[in-house]
C-alpha cells in the first residue's frame, strides 16, 4: 500500500507533470448515431438496431442532442467551439466494436483551448489551480464484454466471452487536458479535484448524470516525472481509472513507481498501464513500440459538423450557474469560511446542504448533518449522498427537536437511520423507537434505585464518600434507559439520592 514516506521521497526528488483524458457517457435519450435507447440496465442486446450493431449496409446519423451537449460542455469549460469539424474513424479489431472501427474525432475536435479552475485543500488553506483543456470531442462507446472462466477476467484465458451491444453507440465525450505542471506534491489532489469539478459541471449542465458505479465516467491518467530544471520525462498512461478516489491513488502510485525506477537508474518506458481498484496499483500493458496504428481518416458516412454562431449563442444562453460561481455565492449567503465550504464540497454535500437551506434549515445545521450523520449513513450503506432519502423538512424537524432538548445528537442519528430504513417520518420514528430524551425524574429515580439494589457494594462505596464509583451506577442507568437519559442529570439525581456531594 501507499507509504507516505515513499511518496514524500518521490516528490522531494522529482516534479510531476500530469494529464487527464476523461470519457463521459452523455445522458441523451438515444444513442450517438441511431435512435436506440440509452437506458442503463436493460437485458443484454435488447437496445440494438442495424446501425449500432454495425450490420452491413447500415449508416450512422448524428444525434443533434449529443452535439448540443458537447458544445455546452465546451462552453462551460471556456473552450472555443470550432466552426467546422469532422468525425473520424479509429480503426482496430476488437469484438466489442461492431464495425471494428470507432467513430470518433481525431485532428478536428469540436471544442478546443479551454480551462477549468479547481481548488484543493492544503495546510495553508484552499489553493486554486488552472487546468488547461486541450480539447473536447465526441465519439461512440463500445459494447461491453464479459469474460467467463479463466483466472484473469481478461479476454486472454477466458473460456468464452459474452458481448452486450446495448452500450455500443452510446454517446461519449472525451475531455483532454493539456499537461498540468507546477502542482508538486498536490498532483494527486489536483487530479482528483479536476475530475470532481468536471463531474459537478456535467451534472449542473445536465449533459450527464455521471453514474460512476455504472462506468459512465472513465479516466486515463498520464504521469511523467522530471528532476527540477530538467525537461519533462517520459510519460505513462494509466487506463481503467474509474472513481474519484482511484484518480488520486493512480497518480500517487504512478509517481512513486516512476520515482523508484528513476532513482535506481532505470528508464521509464512509454506505455499503457492498467489500474487495479483492489490494490490501488497498476500493471504494465502494451508499450508504445507495440502500439496500434489506428489509421484515422475522416468518416465518409457523416457530414461535417458546422455549428453556426447563432446556434452557439443559443446554447450559451442555456448554461446554468456554473459550480464555481455557485459555490462562491453560497459561501457568502451562508456566511461560512472558505474552509467550511470546502469541507461541504469534499463531503460531496453541496447540493444537499443547499436544498436543506432552501427548505428552511439553518445553514450551520444543514452543514452539520449532511457532512456528519447523513454522510456516515451514506458511506455505511454504500450510497451516494443524493440517494439518502432524507428531506429538508425532516432535517428541519430533527433540528427543532434537538434545539428544544427533546432529542440529543445520538438519538437524532437513530432518527435518520430510521428514515433511511423507510420506517416513516421523524415524529413517528421518535414515538415508535421511544427515542425522546428521558427527563422525568421519577422514571430516572426508579432506574437509579434498581441499579443501586443490583450493586449494593458500589452503593456502599459511594455512601462512604467514594464519589468516583458513581460512574458504574450512571452507566447501568444509561444502559437501562438505552441512552435516552441525560448522563449529567442521572449523576446529579444519584448523588442526591445517596445524600453525598462532589
Amino acid at each position: 500500500m501507499t507509504s507516505p514516506t515513499a511518496y514524500d521521497a518521490a516528490i522531494a526528488g522529482f516534479e510531476p507533470v500530469i494529464g487527464l483524458e476523461t470519457h463521459v457517457e452523455l445522458s441523451t435519450a438515444s444513442k450517438m448515431f441511431c435512435s436506440c435507447s440509452t437506458e442503463f440496465g436493460a437485458d443484454a442486446n435488447t437496445q440494438v438496431c442495424p446501425v449500432c450493431l454495425g450490420l452491413p449496409g447500415s449508416l450512422p446519423v448524428v444525434n443533434r442532442a449529443a452535439v448540443e451537449s458537447t458544445i455546452r460542455m465546451g462552453l462551460a469549460l471556456n473552450c472555443r467551439i470550432v466552426p467546422w469539424c469532422r468525425f473520424a474513424r479509429k480503426n482496430y479489431f476488437y469484438p466489442d466494436m461492431p464495425k471494428d472501427y470507432q467513430v470518433s474525432q481525431y485532428d478536428e475536435p469540436l471544442c478546443i483551448d479551454g480551462y477549468l479552475d479547481v481548488t484543493v485543500d492544503t495546510d495553508d488553506g484552499p489553493r486554486q489551480f488552472r487546468v488547461e483543456i486541450e480539447r473536447v470531442h465526441m465519439e461512440e462507446d463500445t459494447g461491453k464484454l464479459t469474460h467467463a472462466g479463466g483466472a484473469t477476467g481478461r479476454i486472454h484465458g477466458a473460456d468464452y466471452s459474452l458481448v452486450d451491444y446495448n452500450r455500443a453507440g452510446i454517446p461519449l465525450i472525451e475531455i483532454v487536458t493539456k499537461p498540468v505542471v507546477g502542482t508538486g506534491t498536490l498532483a494527486p489532489l489536483v487530479a482528483k479535484a479536476y475530475v470532481t469539478e468536471l463531474r459537478d459541471l456535467m451534472r449542473a449542465l445536465g449533459v450527464s448524470d455521471v453514474r460512476m458505479e455504472e462506468g459512465s465516467l472513465r479516466c486515463d491518467v498520464n504521469v511523467s516525472l522530471n528532476r527540477p530544471g530538467d525537461p519533462w520525462g517520459t510519460r505513462s498512461e494509466t487506463k481503467n481509472v474509474n472513481s474519484l478516489r482511484s484518480v488520486e491513488r493512480a497518480v500517487r502510485s504512478e509517481i512513486e513507481r516512476q520515482a523508484d525506477v528513476l532513482s535506481s537508474g532505470g528508464r521509464i518506458v512509454q506505455e499503457t498501464r492498467h489500474f487495479h481498484e483492489d490494490t490501488g496499483r497498476s500493471t504494465s500493458g502494451r508499450s508504445k513500440e507495440q502500439a496500434e496504428d489506428y489509421r484515422y481518416f475522416p468518416e465518409p458516412d457523416l457530414l461535417p459538423v458546422a455549428p453556426d454562431a447563432a446556434w452557439i449563442d443559443e446554447l450559451r444562453a442555456t448554461l446554468p450557474e456554473l459550480p464555481a460561481l455557485k459555490r462562491a455565492r453560497l459561501q457568502q449567503e451562508w456566511g461560512i469560511s472558505e474552509r467550511e465550504l470546502q469541507s461541504i464540497v469534499n463531503a460531496g454535500a453541496l447540493e444537499q446542504v443547499a436544498a436543506a437551506v432552501a427548505g428552511g434549515v439553518d445553514p450551520a445545521a444543514a452543514r452539520k448533518w449532511w457532512t456528519g450523520e447523513l454522510h456516515r449513513i451514506a458511506s455505511d450503506r454504500d450510497l451516494e449522498l443524493a440517494d439518502v432519502p432524507v428531506t429538508p423538512a425532516q432535517i428541519a424537524r430533527v433540528e427543532s427537536l434537538v434545539a428544544s432538548g427533546s432529542l440529543n445528537d445520538k438519538l437524532a442519528r437513530q432518527v435518520f437511520e430510521g428514515i433511511a430504513n423507510g420506517e416513516g417520518d421523524v415524529d413517528g420514528i421518535v414515538a415508535a423507537r421511544g427515542l425522546a430524551v428521558v427527563s422525568d425524574d421519577s422514571a430516572l429515580l426508579e432506574a437509579i434505585d434498581e441499579a443501586l439494589a443490583a450493586q449494593p457494594d458500589v452503593a456502599e462505596k459511594i455512601r462512604g464518600g467514594k464519589v468516583q464509583a458513581a460512574g458504574a451506577i450512571v452507566g447501568a442507568v444509561m444502559k437501562a434507559t438505552r441512552g435516552q437519559a441525560d448522563a449529567a442529570k442521572v449523576r446529579e439525581l444519584l448523588l442526591g439520592r445517596l445524600g453525598v456531594s462532589e
Partner: protein, 502 residues
C-alpha cells in the same frame, strides 16, 4: 386484343409492361411467371442470379393484381419485375455481396432502395451476381463463379454489376438495380448493350447498400431503354434521413427529360483526356458516329480538356482501398456470416484472421492491404492526403467544363467485352477498364452509359457515356433519350434486339 405471348412478355420494356398491367391486358402474375420461367430456362448458362425469390415475387405480383382489381391507383412501375444486385440488404433474403464471408447472412432489414421498390409495387425477382464486394470489372471475382455476357457466353458481362446487366441482356428481367463506385453500373451496361445510370452522389440513399467505398458508392437504375431507366430512377431517388450524405432537395424530373428527348441548342463537350490511343478502333468509330448524330440533332459539340483526369485512376485506387479496408473490417466472423477456426481453443484474434483468410478472395485482400498501407501513420499524407487533393482538382475540372458545356461525353469503356480469364490475373489491365468512368465517382456528379452500336471488328456492344453536373441528372436523360431515338430511327429497333438468342 390478344394477350402477349410469354416470349413476347420478356422482351417488352418496363414502361410497356407497366402500361399493359395497369390496363389489365396482362396480369402482374403472368409477367412475373414469364420472367421466372426465363430465368429457369437460361440462367444456368448466364449465371446472372445468386438467389431467385420466386415465391415472394409471385406474392408481390398477386398483390399488385389485387390492388388493381380493387381500383387502387398503381405506380408507374407497378407489377414490373426487377433484379437487385446482391449488395443491397433485403430482409430475410441471403445477401452475400459475392463473397464467401457473408455466406448465410440474412439481413433483418431492407435497404431504402428495396423499401422504395416494394412501396412502388415493383416485383423483386432475386439477387444478382457481382464481383466480390463490388471489386472488379468482370464479375470474375465473385466467389460464386462468373456471370457470362449474353452477347457471347465466353466473354465477361462487365463488373462489378455484371449480374444485373446480364439479367437485362438475357431478358431475365426488364429492370435491375446496380451500384457504381468507379463504373460498376456503366461499364457492364456498355459491354452488354444496356442502359445504366450513376445518379449524383447523394441522389439515391445508400442505406442498406453494403459499402465498398462510402464516398464513391452510388446505387442507380439499369434498364434496356432510357425511359425505363428514368422511371426506375424516379422510384428509387430522393432524400433519406437515414443516409446523412443523401441530398435533401427535389429529384430532377428525369422522366420528363426522357420524354422530351431534345438536344437542340445544347452544348456538348468531348473530353480530350477520355479519347485517343487507349481506345479500341470500333469503340472510337461508334463514338464519333454518335457524336455526329447529336450534332445532327442540333447540339453544339466542342472539345474540352479536363487535365487532372489523367491522375484519376491513381487517386481512385488509393481512396477506394482506404475506405474499403475500414468498411470491410466488420467482416470478422464474430456476429454474422462465415466463422472459421472456432474450435474452443483458438483466440478471438486467430478466429478473426482465419475467417478473413478463408472468407475473402484475392482481389479483396489486395485492396484491403493497399488501403491499410495508404492510411498508415507516416504514409497517410503521401497517399490518402494526396489522393484527396487530386479529387478536388478533378471536381474543379468538371466545374470548369460545365461552365462551357451542358454535358460531357466520352466512350464508356476503352474496349468491348473481353474474354473470361483474359485479364483476371492482371489487376492493372483490369483497373484500366474504368479509366473513363472513375472521374465522375471522384467528383460526385451524374453519368449514364447507353448503347451506340456494335464494334465492327468483334460485333460487340459499345457504350457512350454522358456526364452531367451534380443534381442535373435530368440532362443525362434528355441527351440519352434523344440519341436513343435517333438510333432507333436508324436501326428500326433497340440495339439489344440484336443479342443472339441463348
Amino acid at each position: 386484343m390478344p394477350s402477349p405471348s410469354e416470349a413476347g412478355l420478356i422482351r417488352q420494356g418496363a414502361s410497356v409492361l407497366a402500361h399493359a398491367i395497369a390496363a389489365g391486358e396482362v396480369s402482374a402474375e403472368e409477367v412475373t411467371r414469364a420472367h421466372l420461367d426465363r430465368i429457369a430456362e437460361v440462367d444456368d448458362r448466364v449465371h446472372a442470379f445468386l438467389e431467385v425469390v420466386g415465391e415472394s415475387a409471385l406474392a408481390s405480383a398477386v398483390e399488385v393484381d389485387r390492388a388493381r382489381a380493387s381500383g387502387e391507383q398503381l405506380g408507374p412501375l407497378a407489377g414490373v419485375p426487377i433484379a437487385v444486385k446482391d449488395v443491397m440488404a433485403m430482409r430475410g433474403v441471403p445477401t452475400t455481396c459475392g463473397s464467401r464471408i457473408l455466406e448465410g447472412w440474412r439481413p433483418p432489414y431492407d435497404a431504402t432502395v428495396v423499401e422504395r421498390l416494394r412501396a412502388a409495387g415493383v416485383v423483386i425477382l432475386g439477387k444478382t451476381n457481382m464481383d466480390e464486394f463490388a471489386m472488379g470489372s468482370s464479375t470474375e471475382h465473385s466467389a460464386y463463379g462468373p456471370t457470362r455476357n449474353p452477347w457471347d457466353l465466353e466473354r465477361i458481362p462487365g463488373g462489378s454489376g455484371g449480374g444485373s446487366a446480364a439479367a437485362l441482356a438475357s431478358f431475365e428481367a426488364p429492370l435491375a438495380i446496380g451500384t457504381d463506385t468507379g463504373g460498376s453500373i456503366r461499364q457492364p451496361a456498355a459491354v452488354t448493350g444496356t442502359v445504366g445510370v450513376k445518379p449524383t452522389y447523394g441522389g439515391v440513399s445508400r442505406y442498406g447498400l453494403v459499402a465498398l467505398a462510402s464516398s464513391l458508392d452510388q446505387a442507380g437504375p439499369c434498364a434496356r431503354s432510357v425511359i425505363d431507366a428514368a422511371l426506375l430512377h424516379s422510384v428509387i431517388a430522393g432524400h433519406d434521413p437515414r443516409d446523412s450524405t443523401s441530398i435533401d432537395a427535389p429529384v430532377p424530373d428525369v422522366v420528363a427529360a426522357a420524354r422530351r428527348a431534345d438536344v437542340r441548342g445544347l452544348r456538348i463537350g468531348l473530353v480530350r483526356e477520355l479519347t485517343g490511343d487507349g481506345y479500341q478502333a470500333g469503340v472510337s468509330q461508334r463514338f464519333a458516329e454518335a457524336v455526329a448524330i447529336l450534332e445532327g440533332l442540333g447540339a453544339q459539340v466542342v472539345e474540352v480538356s479536363c487535365p487532372h483526369f489523367d491522375y484519376a485512376l491513381g487517386a481512385y485506387y488509393l481512396i477506394l482501398p482506404a475506405e474499403a479496408s475500414s468498411n470491410l473490417a466488420r467482416f470478422d466472423g464474430m456476429r454474422y456470416g462465415l466463422r472459421v477456426g472456432d474450435d474452443g481453443e483458438r483466440s478471438v484474434e486467430d478466429v478473426m484472421s482465419l475467417t478473413r483468410e478463408a472468407g475473402f478472395g484475392a482481389e479483396v485482400k489486395r485492396r484491403i492491404m493497399i488501403g491499410t498501407y495508404a492510411l498508415s501513420s507516416g504514409y497517410y499524407d503521401a497517399y490518402y492526403g494526396q489522393a484527396q487533393k487530386v479529387r478536388t482538382l478533378i471536381t474543379r475540372d468538371f466545374a470548369a467544363a460545365f461552365e462551357q458545356v451542358d454535358v460531357l461525353v466520352s466512350p464508356t469503356t476503352p474496349t468491348t467485352a473481353f474474354r473470361i480469364g483474359e485479364k483476371v490475373d492482371d489487376p492493372l489491365a483490369m483497373y484500366l477498364n474504368d479509366i473513363a468512368t472513375i472521374p465522375v465517382n471522384l467528383a460526385g456528379n451524374a453519368a449514364m452509359s447507353l448503347p451506340i452500336g456494335l464494334a465492327p471488328e468483334d460485333g460487340l456492344p459499345v457504350g457512350l457515356q454522358i456526364m452531367a453536373p451534380p443534381m442535373a441528372d435530368d440532362r443525362l436523360y434528355l441527351v440519352g433519350a434523344a440519341l436513343e431515338a435517333a438510333l432507333l430511327d436508324r436501326w428500326g429497333h433497340l440495339l439489344i434486339e440484336e443479342v443472339p438468342s441463348l
